[in-house]
Amino acid sequence: MITLYPKRLFKTPVDAECISPDFFAEKSAKEIAALQIWEGNRRREVGDLFKIKHETGSQSDEVTVRICGDVSKVRKIGAKMSMGNIIVEGDVGMHLGEKMNGGVITVTGNADSWAGSMMKKGTIEIKGDAGDYIGASYRGSTQGMNGGKIVIHGNAGYEVGCFMRKGLIKVYGDIGKFAGIHMRNGTIFIQGNSEGRAGAQMIDGKIVVCGYVPSILPTFTIDDIRQKVKVNGEKLEGPFYRFIGDLADEGKGKLFVSKNRNLHLSSYEEYL
């Protein structure tokens, strides 16, 4: 296990693409300390910003990187990682696990925006809240999350799963506007409430909202009332309204909304 302790509170953003098991594997503490990192527009080494503790106790194949302290200004932790574990004990900055290709990232605090954007494989678990654009594509691109799993135990922000193509995003808290915007495929599950406009311009895929939804977009049509819904093999008790959309984009995505929590949507039933 390799543990990093921030030496001070960072004021400017730190670009730390190298904090990942792929870079740390088979390196000594000295070598890790010499890896290049950017603090604002200054070129630094990992050792300048972090205290490094290298324990070679357990002989497991998995490289585990632990970060203890506030790294909410540190971006791109675990970007492009393909194996191993990252455990962040505290808050973490933007672009966590960007383009991730395997391994597990666990955050005990909150994560900022863009966590898991463009990821292909692996798991990200966030115990606190998450920002906007979770599992999204890069600005302007249509290549969003393409596999893997993101689990958020707290709330999540806007445009979660933008241009998502594959994989699973689970949010146990509430979610902001435009969840699953432009979604091509994959699944978004929301245990809490949605701020609305879920599934705007979605082409395919599945969004399940167990909580309250202020309204459904006018370009969605009601299709059915389902007693149960399957999310990643797990059955959820309903009943759920099933909407199809976004018809403005000739989409056939499915939006499931809890019937019992959304009595104001009962007027849709007459179109069934």
Partner: protein
């Protein structure tokens, strides 16, 4: 053999003891590269940049002590464009589409494109004055207007894009062939092309008319391309070309729809081999993610419908239209792979290399940084075969490439990448290393006596990617693929002197007031606006 350079020109002899010596022994020395057609500046290119942040993020250039930072890939920022051309040994670059209204913007961006000499072609095929004068048969008056616009926009050649079609696009329509009338103007594309071709001759412009044909990018359009070339056949005198059909790959599709689409390169090449009045450039497709941008609004709209990608479409008042759509050319797509094949078929089937220019119509068929790759395809059958193995089966079956064993030599490459391009453009001081030429020289680190380009194509590609030396106006600006001296390039423009200048009357000013958003007084850009102005004085016959 030594090449002597003094004061930015190639001269007979210099004092060797005092001169700086560049040792190019065992390397290829060519004139600086010339690119006849690449969209590098202007309103359209800039909108493309705004549209594609995802294109920039994958290709970032960090600033150095000498160069500025910038981003690529398919639509590089202005400084990066200049640096990248220079690193490949290019010294002259032509920006082929400039709506006259956007001339100011275009020249501002060209001024910020360092390392290369440049020029821009105003879009005149759908300019209202042209349409009106040609409809009324007033060729000489039209010529006077064109002479004025060359001066007003600081342009270099007459660019015609989908003649008539862009005006029709203002009403949601298009023209289907060269004899389809333009709504409200009662003029056909044939009359526009012929009219402007006559104007071009009357004005003695150095380049011919630069034509993007009707029906571009549609199956079966090779007939339109042939019609376009035939319609000015009788205007040719001697062996002088009178028309340049640009990015001809996009105009050489056979078939009735996308399923039956195949190559019409053989027919086009046959025509070009038998006629001297036409020159072409390739518009070679590269399998990559790029951005298409043309003034051809209806074509771009069709492309949007085909891809469902994000898009921009714009109507430039009384002058032209434009559109932008990001596009990915895929090896496994039969259509895209056939397009790739058409470009190379044209280049290999047209016997005379002086009639052909190597381009990608940057960024429409691929970014210009792919030129070294095209050079290897032209020089090596093996390189072509290797790519052939990876493309769509249907395209491979229909491709003519396996039947062609022609391979370009280094001399032919020099013609299609610089000498021929300069000749077609009428740039007398470019594209050769004779005494009096501009001292623009590119040195590539590959020994033609030792390296067989047909087999060692990778070495050739590597050499053309990074010039060992690029010399611009007698100064070494690139060494081993690195910029060692940033320089400004010149902006060429035509100062056409007519004996009967355009009549500037109240009627004309009234027209500007009624139909343009810019008044006549603000329309023309002064010479002082250009950073390094290099006017070419021309005496017209009218």
């Amino acid at each position: 053999m030594d090449i002597a350079v003094k004061d930015g020109k190639i001269v007979e002899k210099v004092d060797e003891r005092k001169a700086e010596v560049v040792d190019a022994s065992g390397m290829i020395v060519m004139p600086g590269g010339v690119d006849i057609h690449c969209h590098i500046a202007g309103a359209e290119v800039n909108s493309g940049r705004l549209l594609r942040p995802e294109d920039h993020v994958k290709d970032v250039e960090v600033k150095t002590a000498l160069t500025r930072s910038g981003v690529g890939y398919s639509i590089p920022s202005t400084f990066t464009t200049g640096y990248r051309y220079s690193r490949m040994g290019y010294t002259t670059v032509m920006n082929p589409s400039m709506p006259p209204l956007e001339a100011r913007h275009t020249h501002e961006e060209l001024d910020d494109t360092p390392m290369v000499d440049k020029a821009s072609y105003p879009l005149l095929g759908d300019w209202w004055f042209v349409l009106e004068h040609l409809r009324d048969g007033l060729v000489e008056e039209c010529a006077a207007h064109v002479a004025w616009i060359m001066n007003a926009t600081k342009g270099y050649a007459i660019k015609i894009v989908n003649p008539g079609g862009l005006e029709a696009w203002g009403f949601g329509g298009n023209v289907r062939n060269v004899d389809d009338p333009v709504p409200y103007f009662n003029i056909t594309p044939r009359e526009i092309i012929r009219g402007l071709c006559k104007v071009n001759k009357l004005l003695n412009l150095p380049h011919t008319i630069h034509v993007h044909t009707n029906n571009l990018g549609k199956p079966g359009n090779y007939i339109t391309a042939l019609d376009t070339m035939k319609c000015v056949e009788d205007l040719a005198e001697g062996t002088h070309p009178v028309i340049h059909v640009t990015h001809s790959q996009f105009s050489a599709f056979k078939g009735s729809d996308w399923r039956t689409m195949s190559s019409g390169a053989e027919e086009i090449a046959k025509y070009v081999n038998h006629h001297n009045h036409v020159t072409l450039d390739m518009g070679q497709v590269i399998f990559t993610d790029t951005t298409t941008m043309t003034a051809d609004g209806p074509f771009q709209y069709g492309l949007y419908q085909l891809t469902g990608n994000k898009w921009v479409n714009h109507d430039v008042e009384t002058e032209t239209s434009s559109g932008i759509v990001p596009f990915r050319y895929k090896r496994k797509s039969a259509v895209h792979a056939t397009q790739w094949s058409i470009g190379l078929e044209l280049a290999l089937l047209i016997q005379n290399p002086w009639k052909l220019c190597m381009t990608t119509d940057h960024p429409n068929a691929g970014p210009f940084t792919a030129y070294p790759r095209i050079i290897t395809w032209l020089m090596s059958q093996m390189a072509r075969k290797k790519t052939m193995m990876k493309i769509s089966k249907r395209a491979r079956r229909n491709s003519l490439l396996p039947t062609i064993d022609r391979e370009y030599g280094f001399y032919e490459i020099a013609i299609v990448t610089r000498a021929g391009q300069a000749k077609i453009l009428g740039l007398k001081q470019k594209g050769h290393l004779g005494v009096g030429a501009d001292a623009d020289v590119a040195v590539y680190n590959v020994n033609p006596e030792l390296v067989d380009p047909s087999r060692k194509y990778k070495a050739v590609r590597k050499a053309f990617k990074k010039a060992a030396y690029t010399i611009k106006d007698g100064e070494v600006v690139v060494k081993d693929g690195q910029i060692v001296k940033p320089v400004y390039g010149k902006t060429f423009w035509l100062d056409v002197k007519t004996s009967l200048p355009m009549e500037i009357n109240d009627d004309l000013k009234q027209k500007f007031r009624e139909y343009w958003t810019i008044e006549y007084e603000n329309y023309a850009i002064p010479e002082s606006f250009l950073h390094v102005s290099s006017p070419i004085s021309i005496k017209a016959e009218v």
